[in-house]
């Protein structure tokens, strides 16, 4: 049985931990709300972009000189993986699930004899992969200490990827990130960026697109050459935003659990403390009484 003093100090320490976790939960909740509005605000652009891309790609996709960004290099040897993670921890399995998916993907590709390169976005992803896959990490990008990510950040990453593609450093590019399904559920997802996965049109929209034969000004190739990098940036932007929203969601859940666990622990410790206190009193009483009887 630990002493009363030891129990008391443990209770105080757990209480202060609980204060921290519950404060972190509140902070995560308010940041989550902001991140969620950002995700929703970015959605209309992405949807319309997809619609345009689908009608353009249908026109240009089959030509032999179609841009690399659309059809890839034609080889399938070097794969670039872009895991997107948070810059901080204390968010449950949020970061490690992306790490696990990336590692699994890398191992599978290597088992097939392919070469894997990794461009880690987010500090935690780099830390997670550094131990096992250090030789494959080309670079890492981190936004630690920043309030929120903007579209310019996504454009910078896209520019980096395009430069690598132009230099022939990889053939195919896959983004790994946590899709924000709901506040309590984030699904680690892989999404192919290059060659572009052409969005499939729903039946009704497909009919409308068939009816509408677009004219292009200046011409399909020029527009496509401008649209594809933008589309890449948009996809990355989306992943960054979903990652941010998912991160705060996961952190909120993790901190909620931690607060509850701390509460349980305090209850248990308080019970032990009271028991020990009563046992002490009883023992003292017995000592006094047996002392009096002995006289």
């Amino acid at each position: 049985m630990p002493s009363l003093k030891a129990l008391r100090s443990r209770i105080t320490s757990v209480k202060s931990t609980q204060k921290i976790t519950s404060a972190m939960k509140m902070v995560a909740a308010s940041k989550l709300r902001r991140a969620q509005t950002q995700v929703e605000a970015a959605r209309p652009y992405a949807q319309r972009m997809e619609r345009m891309l689908a009608s353009l790609a249908a026109n240009v996709g089959n030509q032999p000189n179609a841009p690399k960004l659309l059809v890839g290099t034609g080889r399938d040897q070097v794969h670039l993986l872009v895991p997107v993670t948070g810059d901080r921890g204390l968010a449950g399995a949020f970061n490690s699930s992306v790490g696990r998916l990336t590692r699994g993907l890398a191992r599978r590709l290597e088992a097939e004899g392919k070469t894997v390169k990794i461009l880690a976005v987010g500090r935690k992803g780099r830390d997670l992969l550094r131990r096992e896959m250090a030789s494959r990490i080309v670079d890492d990008i981190s936004y630690a200490g920043r309030k929120s990510v903007g579209f310019a950040d996504a454009q910078a990453i896209a520019a980096r990827i395009i430069a690598m593609l132009e230099a022939g450093e990889f053939d195919s590019c896959t983004l790994v990130f946590n899709r924000f399904a709901s506040v309590i559920s984030q699904v680690p997802t892989e999404m192919r960026l290059i060659p572009v996965a052409i969005p499939e049109q729903s039946a009704a929209e497909g009919d409308a697109a068939k009816r509408a034969q677009y004219e292009f000004e200046p011409d399909e190739e020029t527009i496509l050459a401008r649209l594809l990098p933008q589309n890449l940036a948009i996809q990355i932007y989306r992943a960054l935003l979903e990652n941010a929203a998912g991160f705060y969601g996961a952190q909120m859940t993790a901190m909620d659990n931690a607060t509850r666990n701390a509460g349980d622990m305090i209850k248990r410790l308080t019970l032990n403390y009271n028991r020990a206190r009563q046992a002490n009193i009883t023992r003292e009483l017995i000592e006094i009484i047996s002392g009096a009887e002995a006289l």
Binding site: Q38, A41, A42, P44, Y45, R48, M49, R51, M52, S55, L56, G150, F151, A154, A212, Q213, Y214, E215, F216, E217, P218, T222, I223, A225, R226, L227, Q230, A233, I234, Y237
Partner: protein, 136 residues
């Protein structure tokens, strides 16, 4: 029958309303879209999108570049950046012009698509300066 106009930037939906006519700064000159316009996809240069109602300009919005999709009932402007003309800063435009000029000079003169891109950036920066100048 009005035309549904939407202006979106990557960060948010800026404007969504019916208009009688909209004039958009397409790369090969301004382009006015009325209802029943033939379906088109155009590239934008930097400039002002002007919304018309009853023959009057009711609103102006500066876009730095992007794309527009025109259908008989709808115009969607996918702007790289969009802001009201009052918010356009001359200093920012000049800064971008210098940066774009430097990029143009640094680009390999045989790389035509890259040259085009740098030229488009310069044009967008010039439009920014022009809009900021006329506003003040």
């Amino acid at each position: 029958m009005p035309l549904d106009l939407e202006i979106v930037s990557p960060e948010r939906l800026l404007l969504s309303r019916p208009v009688d006519m909209v004039v958009i700064p397409a790369e090969e000159g301004d382009l006015g879209a009325l209802p029943q316009h033939a379906p088109m996809i155009v590239l934008l240069r930097g400039g002002l999108v002007r919304l018309f109602e009853g023959g009057q300009i009711i609103e102006r919005l500066f876009v730095s570049g992007g794309f527009a999709e025109i259908t008989p009932t709808r115009v969607t402007v996918l702007a790289d950046e969009a802001m009201p003309p009052e918010a356009v800063s001359r200093a920012e435009g000049e800064r971008r012009l210098v940066a774009a000029q430097a990029e143009y000079d640094a680009t390999n003169k045989a790389d035509v698509p890259a040259l085009d891109l740098a030229m488009a950036k310069m044009q967008s920066a010039r439009a920014m300066i022009e809009v900021a100048g006329s506003g003040s």
